[in-house]
Symmetry: C2
Subunit: 242 residues, 2 copies
């Protein structure tokens, strides 16, 4: 069934009025009066609607049912990644949105090779990738993509979450599945992964001191753009969201 996010939609007295780009989209899809579609409010709620009329500027649809979007996981996961080189950011955003992330943040750390002068400039493009992936995968929210700042700022985001995971390649670590099995009912989580060169030991020490679980994902070395997707998928699996 076609899905739209509510930008430009008003729901009034059991009727949804769609204007702008989405109205155009309904027209392109050649939806006809009587056909059903889902309008999502971007906050996790789906409005199941039946098309009443559609012209170039405005679409009217009757609201039939209001339900929580079934695609939304019951754990809100913030994925925090050390800024990678090139377009790996795009890949991370697209795949993490598909896999169920609530929020994606990038940060700068000791071994980041990529050091953009102004990462905020990229936010618009990143957010557009998140929006497209959210629509395509049937999400009930458009996950926010943002720039956390430096490593300390990333830790500061993570410490506020119930489950705090820090992916690290060497030294004393807990197995990711041990940590996840003990935290299957967490309401929210942060997953921190490093840039191409991984984290410096002092960064892992800092994360440990801040109460994060220093986690291993086994003996295979994952690329910096693969690790967040794998860690997120494991989290979704362990919490019954896959």
């Amino acid at each position: 069934m076609p899905r739209f996010f509510m930008a430009g939609t008003n729901v009034l007295g059991g009727m949804a009025i769609i204007r702008g780009r989405d109205a155009e989209h309904v027209r392109v899809l050649r939806l006809r009066p009587g056909e059903d579609m889902i309008i999502c409010d971007g906050q996790g709620t789906d409005y199941k609607c039946r098309l009443v009329s559609a012209d170039k500027e405005q679409v009217e649809a009757e609201v039939i049912e209001v339900v929580p979007c079934p695609a939304e996981p019951n754990i809100k996961v913030t994925v925090l990644c050390g800024l990678p080189k090139g377009d790996k950011t795009d890949y991370i955003i697209q795949k993490c949105v598909e896999a169920g992330a609530c929020e994606i943040m990038f940060f700068s750390s000791d071994r980041c090779v990529a050091r953009p002068e102004n990462p905020e400039k990229k936010l618009e493009r990143w957010q557009r990738i998140a929006e497209e992936a959210a629509k395509q995968s049937g999400r009930g929210i458009i996950p926010q993509v943002s720039w956390a700042g430096d490593f300390a700022a990333a830790l500061d985001v993570a410490v506020k979450k119930e489950l705090r995971l820090f992916m690290y390649e060497t030294g004393e670590r807990e197995a990711l599945n041990t940590v996840l099995e003990a935290n299957r009912t967490a309401a929210d989580a942060a997953i921190i992964t490093g840039p191409e060169g991984g984290f410096a030991p002092f960064e892992a020490d800092l994360a440990r001191v801040c109460g994060l679980h220093i986690c291993s994902m086994g003996e295979r070395i994952l690329r910096c753009e693969t690790a967040p997707v794998v860690a997120l998928t494991a989290t979704m699996y362990a919490t019954g969201n896959l």
Copy 2:
């Protein structure tokens, strides 16, 4: 520690003799006598070696320890994907090798948009991607990439495995985690995922008749290049390989 696969290596009387491209590689890495490296036989066994001498044509190293490669999962997973468009094959290969696949196969199905005249031609490139990913992620084998043929041929591969998973987007399905939790000790598995347009209902019916588990990965719709990686990661997680 540097890792090499054994192409061009002979182990004789406790000494490893490396010739060809890998000997050149040792030279490029500027490894010195006394330094350690791992030579993997590509069958899941690691030879921990200490460099004795290296010149342009030949490297000699003493074998210190012979151990099973710790990066190899204890379940052999064959990932079978409906041939996608463009370079999504490359992405699937790279990520599935990192995530621990034993073997990756592509096949042609009813809704495949990509219909190469001669997919065998691509095998050399695909195999090279698998080899690079295996080296980079520290695998103990170089997973084989191959062309299965048509959908029936893919099913034929799957039915020989202990755990048989068929990812499908609609209709009556089992939750992937229910199936995985009941099969945590399987020795081998097949994961079948579809091309861009998914599977035709008759294909799902056929898979069901052949005894495959028709599985759901939740309500989020995954892209055809994301689904194999997510399903494989879930399998690795459930079987204690992550």
